[in-house]
Symmetry: C2
Amino acid sequence: MNTLSATEIAAQTTSGALRCEDVARACLDRIHMREPTVKAWSFLDAGMVLKEAKALDQQPVRGPLHGVPVGVKDVIETCDMPTQMGSPIYRGYQSLSDASCVALLRAAGALIFGKTVTCEFAGVTAGETTNPHDPARTPGGSSSGSGAAVADFMVPLAFGTQTGGSVQRPSSYCGIVGYKPTFGLINPQGVKPAAESLDTVGLMARTVEDVELSARVLTNSDPVTWLTKGAAVRIGLCRTYAWDSAEDATRHAVEDAARRLSAAGFAVRDVDLPEACNDLPVTREIINDFERARGMAYEWLAHCDAISEGLAKSIRNGLAMPRERYIDALQRVEGCRRLLGKTFADVDVLLTPTVQGEAPRGLSYTGDHRFQSIWTQLRTPAITLPTHAGPNGMPVGIQLVAMPYADDKLLAVARLIFDTLGRGPVIEV
Amino acid sequence: MNTLSATEIAAQTTSGALRCEDVARACLDRIHMREPTVKAWSFLDAGMVLKEAKALDQQPVRGPLHGVPVGVKDVIETCDMPTQMGSPIYRGYQSLSDASCVALLRAAGALIFGKTVTCEFAGVTAGETTNPHDPARTPGGSSSGSGAAVADFMVPLAFGTQTGGSVQRPSSYCGIVGYKPTFGLINPQGVKPAAESLDTVGLMARTVEDVELSARVLTNSDPVTWLTKGAAVRIGLCRTYAWDSAEDATRHAVEDAARRLSAAGFAVRDVDLPEACNDLPVTREIINDFERARGMAYEWLAHCDAISEGLAKSIRNGLAMPRERYIDALQRVEGCRRLLGKTFADVDVLLTPTVQGEAPRGLSYTGDHRFQSIWTQLRTPAITLPTHAGPNGMPVGIQLVAMPYADDKLLAVARLIFDTLGRGPVIEV
């Protein structure tokens, strides 16, 4: 039962074919078995989960996510579980309220299962989580626990957040679907900011339908009208300025996807990013550090000894940065955004790498964000699909991107493409 | 001593001419005398204030705001005082940390004095604060206590937040300087969101210099190079689409300012807002309600009985609103922003009304945001100057606006204009 999708669970708990309690028990069993290796959870209370599941079974169906277990990245506040931010500064910290995204899913009947491991304050300093495909490899970060828990069939759905590449990267490394909506579309209230002009709440799941179902609850959107297979979808193959950093596994994944989609009747053409986008690696660090330093002003001033050296470096850099440099970076990125219309003039979505290749070996480095942070800065919706495998049998995703606010189109095309290309490596249950 | 500006206090505590404790005592005396009438504070502990002031006197000077008393609107978190949001839901709520803006001022030596009364969750439902010029009139909202405390010489500086007109309006009604920077320039971490794509942290003071001094600390900007009197500043008189709603007091204030500035050698010309801006009153309510409903999802779902009817109406409206309508509003406002370059093509700043006229009688209605929310949506910096009086001797401000990120230019021009026009009604001390 723990391998069911959120959509399947909700359909069956709503019809009465399944009890929420039984679903919860199946997920708890899986966690019990695998958690010693995967270490995806920073807080999980089985008793609380079962009590809530039983309560859901007693109640009338509240909404479209009845009984769906959801993992919550541990920088997102929950009124009944601690939010520890991957930092000793917040050890045992209990917020008063649920973050917006948590409250809205709860109201729709979701079963908030527990908190998933995050890198320290959603930054670069890794937690203990391992990649469920190979415990010697990183699950990616900073939404490490969410990526691993969903991939490992512990829960069908989890929240992540992305400021550089923190949803897309672990989704590719762990072999799941990672959706970063258009900036702001999922309300960020109650999420600890990393860099607030970039921070985006995202969804991690095993199917595009599950992403769509939960996005619908969160943003009050209409159900996505899925495209008919074979419709003339126009795809722009966008290698981006970072292409030279891609390993063979990613080059193969993206080009193989393009080839097979073209063979399946999609219209595929090459698309270049505007030249102005070449600055994005530089602007991302400027904006991140300037905002990070201010967003963490209290922690830095009151608890700097408890902050990792990696994060401290960003904060020091941001505090010393002249405001003019930050404003210049914001304006350059805004300039890039204004050019997007031209990039998308003749295509519905872009097909582009998610990451360089397979998840790197080792747990301390969670990977490179350059393929992901392009789209975080441009504020476009983006989705990673787990379609390919690398030389070691590890998952390698492809990324699809649409114009800002064309999220529904992106999801519709993504399902079609996922159906066409099929799924890459899956954890054995 | 409580009538000194922040700049004066900092200079004298730094030179040793004044003790922080004596400044604090003078402010506390003023509060003791006037608070029963003005009701500006939701939390103030005189013992804590004096202890902190004495500690500052014992320490080396930490930064450019040494010993400056600061009021903090009660939707902004403080690690040592409750943050009660003007709502029974947050009665006694103690956050773990300081908001970014509080931590940064504290680090610069500021003396965080207490929490100022806010409308419920920075919305429309008023607190108890009265206008220090006339206790039968509203101080404006939602930064009611901050406006009243600064105007009444209780503290020289206070934080406000603006989602519609919550900094500018109380500043005009109370007769002080109110500065809303370019969106995002003061980091919003630790501030309870009202509608996060509009929420802006602002500063309320009695002089432009004080605003500049504190903005410099918060954003790491260079000191503003004040313009020489008589420099050829180009002013666009912008009556806006809301001009018909202005009372004689405001029409007189704005046109008198234009006339006298022109006579003093400023280049004044009429400037119209782009026609697309006529939609801004509609888009503001759509964006506000959609985001408000999600930002308050927890409070609504867990404590809806403790939410005022005015706020409940916004939340209900926002929850029922289709996402398409919200996206359309965001895109329309973004379209207006892209036209701003043309509006400012031949002028340095716009001169425009802040409010309709004097503070309305009564305490339950905090006034109309239509002249302020134009600029909140356009994300421009804006500053209100307390230059005029209405028919009842109440203050009436004028508003100056510059292009996004031209905050330094705005402050320089604002000082010049304030020096030229002089100050309107002031509370008797």
